[in-house]
Amino acid sequence: MFYREAGQFKTSYATDQQIFPIRQDRIAMAVLLAVAFVAVPLAASPYWLTAILIPFLTFSLAAIGLNILTGYAGQLSLGSAAFMAVGAVAAYNFEARVPGMPLLGSFVLGGLTAAGVGVLFGLPSLRIKGFYLAVATLAAQFFIPWLLVKVSWFSNDSTSGAISTQPLEIAGWLADTPTEKYLLVLTIVAVMALVAKNLIRSATGRAWMAVRDMDVAAEVIGIRIVRTKLTAFAVSSFYCGVAGALYAFANLGSVQPEDFNLDLSFRILFMIIVGGVGSMAGSFLGAAFITLLPIALDLLLTDGAAAIGLALPPGVASMAQLVVFGALIIFFLIVEPHGLARLWQIGKEKARLWPFPY
């Protein structure tokens, strides 16, 4: 099949403004969705679903959140995990304390709570930029989990600090098998990804990118810097918050603020660097890569060592993971700062011209 757009003429601006203006891309997207919604639930094993696909989707959502803030609005954050924690704890509390609260309502409210907290910690961005801001977001990363642990009200006064999440029940449908959980997470992520894409191609998204690329010029054409930055913090934190709720409810089955540590924040940052800063597809590619890499590395090392008759000392795999992560980040920043998404783009452009080089 040829990847060509020749002959596809656009007769209105509406058709030119579509998310996928090229027909082949639309077909590919439809196929991808069909596979995700139909083929995967039929074919995937419970291990694949719980250990790989559900975490991948959850992290994709968090990566979209961070990409909105860092990739599109240009505000570097090292506190994504903290906003995820807020979303998780808030969703838990709405579900536990408001009688008859529907699950999705709790998720949305959890996201909104995270958005509010995000705006609060985004306030310094009005005066500081770059890594000053990055350091300021570290304040959120250290303060929020501390607060969530210290104030026992948040964990319903549970003595251990660990609380089990409520069952995933939506209007009488209980999602308790891996397949059902996967479908629930997939649906939420797909809808929210579409919403994010819509925002990015509208006035808000253009304002974000304008502020990212040159804030003085943005201000001069009438974009309100304050509102734009805070909106980015709010929307980004909303996405992280919902991702946090999904992480707690659909992945871990419990809410523990300690799970949302600096390491997780870095991991999400790595996802967008590897996947592509300022790219929706990149958020997914990066999340897939960073989710799969430790598993692949672990298999490779243990099996590799076993094959040559060696038993690896414990901890080597996790150390090797640090080394590989670090090296990959540097590699991508040097060689392809726009990440996997850019490589995919280049591939498509080549395909358009194939079999001719130009």
Partner: protein
Amino acid sequence: MAPQRHIGDVMLSLEHISLAFGGVKALTDIGFDVRDGEIRAIIGPNGAGKSSMLNIINGVYQPTEGRIVFEGREYRRMDPHRAASMGIARTFQNIALFKGMSVLDNIMTGRNLKMRSGLLAQALYVGPNRREELVHREKVEHIIDFLQIESVRKTPVGRLPYGVQKRVELARALAAEPRLLLLDEPMAGMNLEEKQDMCRFILDVNDEFGTTIVLIEHDMGVVMDISDRVVVLDYGRKIGDGPPDEVRSNQAVVDAYLGVAH
């Protein structure tokens, strides 16, 4: 000049403007006015304070002293957002485009102030927001036509040659449908052909839309040809003001440009 051009009353006047950074005085007691519909040039040697003057008009810098009167209302200082919403747009000396965005998106940002859809409508991309996007897209396409940059509309601006980038920046300013357009060296670094194109665009904008223009330019030929009145700055002071011919024969101006033994 085309006879139908109409130059009206004073639109903008700057009174006793001074600007200092720390102890360094960039501008000292400057006053001049701009009439509705005219092309007003600011000239002067490097470091004369020309860009600072534009920055004061649209609020990027706050004057240490003086006031700004725009359309009959008096301001101690501007701020960039208010200036934009009152219809003041500008371009920059060193191109200030949004490098990561396409030409189309860059120009669309110029219409930001005119877009009303809320966050939720944008998120869902339905109904009013969709229609609004299309209405503005159409306006932007007119500007793209006008400046003859159709072929690059989807290209990221970072990949365009310098002359085209200058044009895109003008397009972005025009997208705001400004009443007053500030151009900071629109022809700097251009070859002759590009300069001629840019001159024509500036005259057309002034002519067709009646936009008032304040421009900074080094090319004396261009300034003398297209502007109605000229302000001359030197070391942050005004040393001349009037029609091109008058300014050209002003002894202080000649001294400033050619240098004179003090």
